[in-house]
Amino acid sequence: MKLLQTVGLAAGWRRPVHRPLSFSLARGEILALAGPNGAGKSTVLAALAGGGARIFAGEIRLAPGARTGFQTQHAPPVAGVPLSGAELLALTGARPDGLPDWSMACLHRRLDKLSGGQRQYLALWSILQAPADLLLLDEPGNHLDRAGAASLPSALRARAGQGAGIVLVSHDTALAQACCDRMLQVEPCDD
């Protein structure tokens, strides 16, 4: 059985925001959702995560027992909070193994004392390496510094290599081309 399958999925908040989508995702596969701003890409992720966007039509089938990890575009609010990078990873159950050296060196410092790029990479890692079969990543390249952006494609491929299925939304076509197996166009509703 596929890890994830959608049939005629139409999701939104007050009304459907995108045309019906049908696709499937296998373990170890990375799928990019593409489309113009406002097409509903983030809404699709929220619907796949469950408990977020409303499903107006179609259905979502997730393999029994599969766990989902979900990274949104909102950075964790850590300003003024005494939380280290290692503690953030521990909260989601993410392992630090495989972190780049420059990021590993930040693990035991307070997150609000790190640069924005360092902090964002650890926040992304905390979801990417969380115990999950399906990972939903909304603009994972946002706010990364140059080193983080360079490390991201290999980190995504490594995670897929561990058996996770990944659905990501990204405006960064270079990232999508570097690591995604397929790309799916999300089209907005006409009205």
């Binding site: 469950g50 990274q71 005494p82 280290s84 503690e87 979801i127 969380a130």
Partner: protein
């Protein structure tokens, strides 16, 4: 000072009760601060005081009334959030609790003493039931936070991931609210409204500024609170002062000292 040790021997139960609360409240305060809900401490405390006064007029033990009122308010929090802006709920409850407390005290005979005690703090009159209550509250909170503390942080830092993982939302919501409400109601009966609020607010505030990690904050906040509490207990006993205001004052003195330590800490960290 020569009288202090004999007095301490006499007041060992209140001393131990307060010490247990001084360990408990800052730990809860850390999570309240994380959730930006420190107004909850004032609201639960003040409503608990009103409940205790109301219970006394009905012939019910005040501690039962305080606990019941605080728990009812904690249970109402989520329904109220659907109809009112969430940032205003706790300040509103605090105002209502304050109003009810003062009106009860002003208009009903026999509750003035309790009313004054709830505002001043009546730690020295804490009996064995308060000591047992504080010990049970500390044990319950310790177990709860050990098990669900990470969830409380996760729901704040990665709320969408928390929902996607189907983690138990009750623990990070109603479970924590009820625990804080019960603890505050208990604390107010012995430390007074502002004394309890000072313990739940000031040490976590300082720990947030100076702790290098959450784990360190969980050690620093109770340590600071215990230090200020011990100082206040001794001063109030030696100088025969109401305990609540002295405790609040000790926390207030602690604040600039803590801020200076934080500034030195960050200065040292920058130089390093």
């Amino acid at each position: 000072m020569t009288d202090f040790l004999p007095q301490l021997a006499l007041f060992w139960r209140p001393a131990l009760t307060g010490a247990l609360l001084a360990l408990l409240l800052p730990c809860l305060g850390l999570y309240l601060r994380m959730r930006q809900e420190y107004w909850a401490a004032l609201a639960y405390g003040q409503v608990g005081a009103a409940g205790a006064l109301g219970a006394l007029t009905l012939g019910v033990p005040p501690i039962a009334g305080g606990l019941a009122a605080s728990l009812v308010v904690a249970g109402m929090k989520h329904p109220l959030e659907k109809h009112l802006p969430s940032t205003g709920i706790f300040p509103l409850l605090f105002i209502l609790g304050w109003s009810a407390s003062l009106l009860l005290t002003a208009n009903l005979p026999g509750v003035e003493r309790l009313g004054a005690a709830l505002f001043e703090g009546q730690l020295y009159f804490a009996g064995v039931e308060m000591l047992v209550g504080a010990a049970l509250a500390l044990a319950a909170c310790g177990i709860f936070l050990w098990r669900t503390g990470p969830l409380l942080l996760l729901v704040r830092l990665h709320p969408a991931h928390f929902r996607a993982q189907r983690l138990p939302a009750w623990a990070a919501g109603a479970g924590f609210d009820l625990l804080v409400a019960a603890s505050l109601a208990l604390a107010v009966m012995s430390l007074g409204v502002m004394g309890a609020f000072a313990l739940i607010f000031v040490p976590p505030w300082l720990a947030f500024a100076i702790a290098p990690s959450w784990r360190a904050a969980l050690a620093i906040a109770p340590a600071l609170a215990l230090f200020a509490y011990t100082l206040a207990f001794a001063l109030a006993l030696i100088h025969d002062q109401p305990f609540g205001p002295v405790l609040a004052l000790a926390q207030g003195v602690l604040a600039p000292a803590g801020a200076a330590i934080a500034a030195a800490w960050h200065g040292g960290a920058k130089k390093a």
